[in-house]
Amino acid sequence: MKNNTLNPEDTVLAVENLCVDFKVKGRLVHILSDISFVLGSGETLGIIGESGCGKSMTALALMRMVPSPPGWISAGRILMNDENLTQVSEKKMRTVRGRKISMIFQEPMTSLNPVYTIGNQIAETIRCHKNRSRSEALEEAVEMLRVVQIPAPERRVREYPHQLSGGMRQRVMIAMALACEPNVLIADEPTTALDVTVQAQIFDLLKEIQETRGTCIILITHDFGAVAEMADRVIVMYAGHKIEEGTVDEVRNDARHPYTQGLLRCMPEIQIDPKGEREPLPEIPGTVPDLLRGLKGCPFSPRCSFAISKCKELPPYLHLGCKRSVKCWLAREDTRLKEPA
């Protein structure tokens, strides 16, 4: 683990009290509530949660790509180089996307244009941000394909997305995202559509690129294994709230929020030498709340086995040290919650 104690100068991106609201059927729905985090240089931050918890929406908000209508950023600041990205003009924002912050999406087939060659698509990004001629941009595209370890890049650059396998397509997406050397790379479930062996290759590639270029990565995933593999710090999200933050080791070994504890316990993990009888997996009862219904108090309280009457109010963040916080009434600084009797 690196960069546990960051200086303010090292901060690349700071998100403060970010809120995103949607208007659905005339009703106001809080999709993201009060999300804050900072990203240090060269750091990998994991965002983990179940589907619908707002992790992808956080990524879209950072890029100012919240679908509008029905949604908008209702409060908060996104600070990058002392500039508040929530306030800048759309024209200015276009110079940020791809150049300062870029994104890899989950489904590489749907995010590549099937009727253009991949070289064309990478060159387009380069020409948007840098003053390059067509042929110069194409040369740079070949270079990028080499960086992401695609064999025979001179030939591949003229191929179309359908001629590539899933892993190759994701490499092309990464090449495109990195073409203008962004400071922050957001990877939204980059390997969910891929097989495990290919996933491992993509992770190796991302790590290598991070080491050579010093890019910060925000890795959005539902797999804690992927976070443990890649990230330095992790944010756990539930129903649009950040409910816990800490380093990977802190969250893994010392989760303080009941949801984080439940989430970690209910994932089966490979045991190299299993002992004794198989026990049933510990479950989290119930399902994720429907944000349309409007939530009062702690969003996890209906499923929480520790819930007390105070949970009808929204708990504040309890800060447990440098970039370590929990949003739960019952969290204490010194001890973790005990299993219910």
Binding site: A228, M267, P268, P274
Partner: protein, 322 residues
């Protein structure tokens, strides 16, 4: 639990003729499953793992003759399934059912949940209408759904609940064997645990036999007794669950295990074996051992001869020259 073989598959092959690429060219053959053999004992669960396109789902479908096998033998409780006529096969299907991967597309959106679960009973003409209705209620409570939910339509359920409906439907006829084709891979982790626990509980209560198809090794380890690893239509390693995870013998299995991201930090430092490149095309397979193109140990012999699946160690079958 009796150690009796319920299902025996010998040299199963499923080949598809695919579209010709030129007008007068020959139709190329896609070797989806190419010589798969295994046995499942009553009350046991066999896990079939592999990456996408390795033929694991096709194997599951071929067992129920939902796709017709090209070659091979399937014995279910001593009966040769491939020789059965349509009527006899339909009667046989009472005893073998399937749960599909995607609970969104495998439920009819125009039928109520109750009707969906009742359908197999109607088709097989089991009992009187009132008995069928009682059986549906029984099944609903068995899989953890409420009596009232019988009247709801699939879109009113969440993914986990839909998978429960699929399980109830598969259980309706009291089958012996259930083919579970990636039953939890489209579900969220918290819901995944609920469904896995339900499947484990049902197996113990109803003495079911599972063929459990999955790409997730952690899930397979949790539920299965025996595991077969598939690669490009063939089984490359087959052994009991404990041996496979402790001592994987085939380089592909080793690579597969190493590729799974681990939560614990100690494994991180170990040197990783990474298979290079992608899975070869099942239409145009490499000669010799199918894995040699990606294998880091590959030698001259691997390019020439295809290794057979042999019992290299007691109870541990491996298809590798080394």
């Amino acid at each position: 639990m009796t150690e009796r073989i319920l299902l025996s598959v010998a040299d199963l092959k499923v080949h598809f003729k695919i579209q010709r690429s030129t007008m007068f060219g020959s139709r190329p053959t896609l070797y989806a499953v190419d010589g798969v053999s295994f046995d499942i004992c009553r009350g046991q669960a066999l896990g079939l793992v592999g990456e996408s396109g390795c033929g694991k789902s096709t194997t599951g479908l071929a067992l129920l003759r939902l796709v017709e096998p090209t070659e091979g033998k399937i014995y279910f409780d001593g009966i040769d399934l491939l020789s059965l006529e349509a009527g006899a096969l339909r009667a046989m299907r009472k005893r073998m059912q399937i749960i599909f991967q995607d609970p969104y597309s495998s439920l009819n959106p125009r039928q109520t949940a109750g009707n969906i679960v009742r359908d197999p009973l109607d088709i097989q003409k089991v009992g009187s209408p009132s008995e069928r209705e009682a059986r549906v209620s029984e099944l609903f409570s068995l899989v953890g759904l409420g009596e009232r939910q019988k009247a709801l339509f699939p879109h009113q359920f969440s993914g986990g609940q839909r998978q429960r409906i699929c399980i109830a439907r598969a259980l309706a006829l009291n089958p012996d064997l259930i083919v579970c084709d990636e039953p939890v891979s489209s579900l969220d982790v918290a819901i995944q645990a609920q469904i896995l626990n339900l499947l484990c509980k049902l197996r113990d209560e109803l003495d079911l036999t599972y063929l459990f198809i999955s790409h997730d090794l952690a899930v397979v380890q949790h539920i299965c007794d025996e595991i077969a690893v598939m690669y490009l239509g063939t089984i490359v390693e087959k052994t009991d669950c404990r041996k496979l995870f402790k001592n994987p013998r085939h380089p592909y299995t080793q690579a597969l295990l190493a590729a799974v991201p681990s939560r614990s930090s100690f494994k991180k430092k170990a040197k990783r074996i990474r298979p290079q490149g992608d899975i070869p095309n099942p239409i145009n397979r490499p000669p010799g051992c199918y894995y040699h193109t990606r294998c880091s140990y590959s030698k001259e012999e691997c390019r020439m001869n295809k290794p057979e699946l042999v019992e290299k160690y007691p109870g541990h079958w491996v298809a590798c020259h080394f």
